[in-house]
């Protein structure tokens, strides 16, 4: 036993080393920088101050923070609502490999290029507008891009595979006879899905939620490329603070806020999940 435990430390050492170098140290640097004074041309001066955190309460920043939260919640909700039936259909399909391939193939293309493809689709001379114009459905180009909706659309597109995959794997393991049992016992189709299927695949839903919410919350390229003035997100502020305004402590403080909010969100999802699960037992 004891020998095994010692071996365990050895086996997990590479992982520990990896996380220390590429996760703990950078996070520590960010924490430290956020409490330092900003250097004149970027960088920091080694002097403790809470100024970065005070600057965060600038109404303009708070507005962006609020918007980021809102866009993330809406985009995550849409992603999950689309991914659920999709994962269900895949799990029940006889051609699972085919559908999986369709979902994975886009990953072979750089996400930046895929976003540019969306520009080609949505822009005023883009695919959709050209099509609608040529069909005579509209007379003037619609403004489909450089606004909030475009950001949400593309965020959903980019992140939906990360929701479909965990949902698919849990639904695939689901015993569909349980749905028949629910119907047999008096549940309508809808009730069978809500009372039996969804609780049974809860772990998949939680994974999908975490996998989509966190990257969307920290999104940077999508709002930059297809968003307008009203679609600036925290990710964009951080980049601006690093490259343009050269306020590294403020950038660090924002990064820290993203990390903290995401972590809190994940903890909240997991804890509430466990509580609900416990409720199912107690009687």
């Amino acid at each position: 036993m004891k020998r095994e435990r010692q071996l365990g430390i050895i086996y997990s050492a590479p992982m520990g080393l990896w996380l220390t170098i590429f996760f703990l140290i950078p996070i520590s640097i960010i924490v430290i920088y956020s409490f330092l004074k900003k250097g004149l041309y970027g960088g920091v001066e080694w002097q403790f101050t809470l100024k970065a955190y005070q600057e965060m309460f600038n109404p303009a920043f708070l507005k962006v923070l609020w918007r980021t939260l809102w866009v993330s919640v809406v985009a995550t909700a849409i992603t999950l609502l689309l991914a659920l039936p999709c994962g269900y259909a895949m799990a029940r399909s006889r051609h699972q490999i085919f559908w999986l391939a369709l979902i994975i193939v886009p990953f072979w293309t750089n996400s930046l290029i895929r976003i540019y493809a969306w520009i080609a689709i949505l822009s005023s001379e883009g695919f959709i507008n050209e099509l609608l114009l040529s069909l005579g459905i509209i007379k003037e180009s619609l403004s489909l891009i450089y606004n909030q909706q475009a950001v949400i659309t593309v965020l959903v597109y980019i992140n939906i595979p990360f929701a479909i995959l965990p949902l698919f794997t849990t639904i695939d393991k689901f015993d569909f006879q349980l749905l028949e049992a629910a119907r047999d016992l008096g549940a309508t189709k809808r009730k069978a899905i809500f009372k039996v299927l969804l609780p049974s695949i809860r772990s998949g839903i939680i994974t999908a939620l975490i996998f989509t919410f966190i990257p969307i919350f920290g999104a940077y390229t999508t709002p930059l490329l297809v968003g307008g003035k009203d679609s600036y997100m925290i990710g964009n502020i951080i980049v601006d603070q690093v490259t343009k305004t050269r306020n590294w402590p403020l950038a660090s403080a924002f990064s820290l806020i993203i990390t903290l909010l995401s972590t809190l969100g994940v903890i909240w999802i997991l804890v509430s999940g466990m509580q609900d699960k416990a409720k199912g037992v107690v009687k």
Binding site: R183, D184, G186, G280
Partner: protein, 382 residues
């Protein structure tokens, strides 16, 4: 177990009329008609793929027949969705909800009806008691034993007070000994609650021991419907004879048919035995008719000495023991007859050392049976 002498619930009669169902080229059900009486313990018996589960799924509402109708208490139910039928199912794998406790699994149908908490609790307690699962309320299905899971499934299926309970091989996932106990419990339960049971099984001994009547099915057709003893003692076809219990079955030709009292003493020629045998039958069969002849192994006698005074209607053959199988209460012998055919003979060991175990491998023996103990099973069209 429960208060009151009367049956708790009301059973409906079930009428299956000319039901057919095909999956592509495969005919799962081929013009099946069955009438099940109210409150009956009715078994659908047959090998896998015979259509018994398809029929059950049609009655439950998970599948629709291509033609025919299913009547419950005289009313066609085929247009109703499963949740609207007064029928509940105990699934083969039980299909318990893994995310719910025993209590919540049993309460599930009541929660859907939005019954008051007090009434719900009283009812769940009553059914927990009925299946003797008190003390297991908070356990999840994964923490229950196979037998307990099965009981949860039964309680959950009964709490809606259905008029017909469908049981899809509910014992097949359990070990042999538990199966016997639960079978007896199931029989008691049926007597108590008075609901019509439709029991699907491929195990003939299960079906024989608990059913009021049995329908034997094969290749989507019902071959015979009858009480257990009828099915066993008077099988309608070769298949039924072979499927129910063990038997010796031979094709034969009628040589002679002589009236004797209220039946006919028939002489059959059996090519495999290279000899004629005697059998009694109620039909006057024409000479030259092709039939199947069967005799159950336990109806036969096996002796090491040649029987001294053999009456006229006894069929007697000599052979050697090819394979003796001793199993405590009985021995089964595969006897290689002089003409090269193997017959199965079963000897009960009712008395201590009742000649059985003394018969050994390769020993010469005589097997015999009375004309009354053989049957003409199926008249073969020729």
């Amino acid at each position: 177990m429960l208060g009151g002498d009367g049956k708790r619930l009301k059973g409906f009669d079930v009428k299956v009329e000319n039901v057919s169902r095909a999956f592509g080229d495969f005919k799962a059900l081929d013009d099946v008609s069955i009438e099940i009486k109210r409150g009956e313990f009715f078994s659908l018996l047959g090998p896998s793929g015979c259509g018994k589960t398809t029929l059950l799924r049609i009655i439950a509402g998970f599948d629709n027949p291509d033609s025919g109708s299913v009547l419950l208490d005289g009313k066609n139910i085929l247009h109703l969705p499963p949740e609207k039928r007064p029928v509940n199912t105990v699934f083969q794998s039980y299909a318990l909800f893994p995310h719910l406790s025993t209590y919540e699994n049993i309460a599930f149908p009541l929660r859907l009806k939005k019954i008051g908490e007090k009434e719900l609790d009283a009812k769940v307690q009553e059914y927990l008691h009925l299946v003797q699962l008190e003390g297991h309320e908070t356990k999840k299905p994964s923490m229950l034993s196979g037998g307990q899971r099965q009981r949860v499934a039964i309680a959950r299926a009964l709490i809606n007070e259905p008029n017909v309970l469908l049981l899809d091989e509910p014992l097949s996932a359990l070990d042999a000994k538990l199966r016997q106990n639960l079978l007896v419990e199931l029989d008691h339960l049926h007597d108590q609650i008075g609901v019509t049971f439709i029991y699907v099984t491929h195990d003939q001994s299960e079906a024989l021991s608990v059913s009021d009547r049995i329908a034997v099915m094969n290749h989507g057709k019902v071959l015979q419907i009858g009480e257990p003893f009828e099915i066993y003692e008077n099988p309608a076809t070769d298949f039924v004879a072979r499927f129910i219990g063990e038997t010796n079955l031979f094709p034969a030709v009628v040589r002679k048919c002589v009236p004797l009292h209220d039946y006919f003493l028939t002489t059959l020629y059996i090519e495999e035995l290279e000899s004629e045998i005697l059998v009694t039958d109620y039909d006057n069969l024409p000479v030259g008719q092709h039939v199947s002849f069967t005799v159950r192994p336990e109806k036969m006698k096996i002796t090491t000495d040649k029987p001294t005074h053999v009456s006229k209607d006894i069929n007697l053959f000599r052979g050697i023991i090819e394979e003796p199988i001793y199993s405590g209460f009985q021995s089964k012998y595969y006897v290689l007859l002089d003409n090269g055919t193997i017959m199965k003979v079963i000897q009960q060991h009712a008395n201590y050392m009742d000649e059985g175990p003394e018969i050994e491998w390769k020993e010469q023996v005589y097997v015999s049976w009375s004309a009354e103990d053989g049957y003409i099973v199926e008249v073969v069209d020729s």
